[in-house]
């Protein structure tokens, strides 16, 4: 019996060894190192002096840090709720269709989600191109002139948000579709017998029953969009990055362009704490769903 148990332990240890190695070296260790680095004035590569909380104190007085923080928050506001609601609306439209029609329409909405971000960037940069972009037709119709959208400060974030919603909405649509399918058709039939109209059915049946999925999508989106970097970095190429800087981009700038590893790590810790707060929230939500 004891020998059997020993053997089971040995097998289990061999099976989890690759996990322990990869997660130890590539997750636990860098996380500890990040916190440690944030208390030093080290450059990106090389060692530095221990400076205590100096980086954190500096961060609170750093205007560019707060710009990055505010822009990230602004981007979250612009994307999370619209992306969720548009996802739900599209899922409801798609779920009415049947068979090959549904597959075709769903694929049209979902396709952008599997594109690399740099391809999304190329496509929309062309759509908005100030000289030849097709969107300049409606833009000049409404504004009276062509506009270089990604070089106009107040338009930059909303435009990037629009592109992001187009790119990532497919994911939300899938989750909502699954949620809608799990609502029993009997409930809708009962409502039809009561002659409830579309809006009443949505408000009294669909919305409350889909709410757990909505909450899930909202938190997933929130955590995802806090980590925004790629799109902002790509669309600002060739322009001035500072006014539209987001947090991950500021980490990147400080570490890789200014060679301030310690300070970059402090910003990373700040982002880390923000994301963990929301992740705990998401975890609680998921657990609540699991227990039901």
């Amino acid at each position: 019996m004891i020998r059997n148990q020993r053997r089971e332990w040995a097998v289990a240890f061999l099976l989890v060894l690759p996990f322990l190695l990869t997660y130890g070296v590539l997750f636990v260790w860098p996380t500890i190192q990040m916190v440690q680095l944030s208390f030093t004035d080290a450059p990106l590569i090389g060692t530095g002096e221990w400076v205590g909380f100096e980086n954190y104190i500096e961060m609170f007085d750093d205007r560019r840090f707060w710009t990055a923080f505010n822009n990230t928050a602004y981007f979250v506001v612009l994307t999370v709720i619209p992306n969720t609601l548009i996802g739900l609306a599209i899922a409801m439209m798609v779920s009415r269709l049947k068979g090959w029609q549904q597959s075709l329409i769903l694929a049209m909405f979902f396709l952008p989600y599997i594109l690399p971000v740099s391809v999304v960037y190329r496509i929309w940069n062309w759509m908005f191109n100030v000289q030849f972009g097709i969107l300049q037709y409606p833009i000049s119709f409404f504004a009276g002139e062509t506009i270089n959208v990604f070089r106009t400060q107040w338009m930059f974030m909303p435009a990037v948000a629009l592109v992001t919603i187009w790119w990532t909405c497919g994911f939300n649509i899938l989750l909502f579709l699954a949620g809608l399918r799990s609502i029993s058709p009997d409930i809708y039939e009962a409502a039809a017998l009561d002659n409830a109209n579309r809006w009443t059915i949505f408000r009294k049946i669909t919305w409350p029953l889909i709410w757990p999925v909505t909450a899930l999508v909202l938190t997933i989106q929130l955590i995802l969009q806090l980590k925004i970097f790629d799109q902002v970095y790509l669309f600002v190429q060739g322009g001035r990055p500072d006014p539209s800087m987001v947090m991950v981009q500021y980490i990147y700038t400080m570490a890789f362009q200014r060679n301030q590893g310690g300070y970059a790590a402090a910003i990373a810790v700040a982002l880390f704490v923000i994301v963990i707060v929301f992740s705990v929230l998401q975890f609680q939500l998921l657990r609540a769903r699991g227990e039901k």
């Binding site: 960037y121 496509i123 994911f171 806090l226």
Partner: protein, 296 residues
């Protein structure tokens, strides 16, 4: 509402009420379907527009007229990208690193999940906490230290340096564990009777019974690795080591701005994952739902 109630009141049975209402709704339903189709066409239009642009000669691309189909069809833009950029090399880089990330992630995750699901051993708690923690930590916050670590190993501008930091996918472990948990115990007991080793039970029963989920997870892990931008962008500075998603935006054309060529590069970069998705639509859908904690 009150009008609807009145109407319902005049009907003799629920059945006629239902029929009457559905006749009244036909127009509304048709309109909704129409709106759906129009919206879907608009949604997919940017992809179509990019595709069409790549098939035009550059002179037509910047022409004044709005052509929804090329007046002259040409593959010049693609030909130019294939001959004059390193896109072939970038494709190879993307292929090698994405396949490696997929195979390693799935192997590590399946083995861990099997141990957690079927074996009792000390240290399980530790593994659970590590998985939970890695769920919550944003990998994007670790870029600085991943870079330092890879630089210490001498893996910057190296395939391995691109691959390693992309191996943290705790959700794959969780999905596998749920599937291993639901394999009926009888299979395991029968195999034990035949004194099969744990390794044999894992590789001959548990893995083959879950090939479907392995395929689904493999496809989305591959697409994710292919599309990943931030880390491959940081880990590589030499153009010949770039992944295709990074290369098409970081290396500027020596021949000046040419929209059809830029877009042709983009279409080529997306081609493989787009085709994979179109072939394995169901698997992709299934894996995404499982990863989000919804039974597909």
């Amino acid at each position: 509402m009150s009008v609807a109630q009145q109407e319902a009141g005049t009907m003799t049975s629920a059945q006629t009420a239902k029929r009457g209402r559905s006749r009244g709704w036909d127009f509304g339903a048709l309109l909704l379907t129409l709106v759906t189709v129009v919206f879907a066409v608009l949604w997919a239009f940017p992809i179509y527009w990019a595709l069409v642009t790549t098939l035009k000669p550059e002179s037509q691309v910047i022409g004044k007229s709005l052509d929804f189909l090329p007046r002259t069809w040409t593959f010049d833009a693609y030909w130019h990208v294939l001959v004059n950029t390193q896109i072939g090399r970038w494709y190879l880089n993307s292929l090698v690193t994405s396949v490696a990330v997929t195979v390693l992630t799935l192997a590590i995750s399946a083995a861990t999940a099997y141990a957690l699901s079927q074996l009792r051993f000390p240290g399980r708690k530790l593994i659970y906490y590590t998985i939970l923690a890695s769920f919550m930590v944003p990998i994007a916050a670790l870029i600085v230290n991943h870079f330092i670590l890879m630089a210490q190993f001498g893996l910057i501008n190296n395939w391995l340096g691109v691959i390693f930091p992309q191996l943290i996918h705790p959700v794959v472990i969780i999905v596998y564990k749920n599937f291993f948990d639901s394999v009926p115990k009888e299979f395991r007991e029968a195999a034990k009777m035949d004194s099969a080793s744990e390794w044999r039970i894992f590789t001959r029963i548990y893995l083959p019974m879950n090939w479907g989920i392995t395929t689904a997870l493999a496809i989305v892990t591959f697409i994710g690795a292919w599309n990943n931008f931030l880390w491959p962008f940081l880990a590589v500075s030499r153009p010949e080591m770039m992944n295709v998603a990074v290369g098409i935006t970081q290396v500027n054309d020596a021949f000046g701005v040419a929209y059809a060529r830029e877009l042709a590069g983009a279409i080529l970069a997306a081609l493989l994952v787009a085709v994979l998705y179109l072939i394995f639509q169901r698997r992709v859908t299934q894996a995404i739902m499982l990863s989000a904690g919804i039974k597909g």
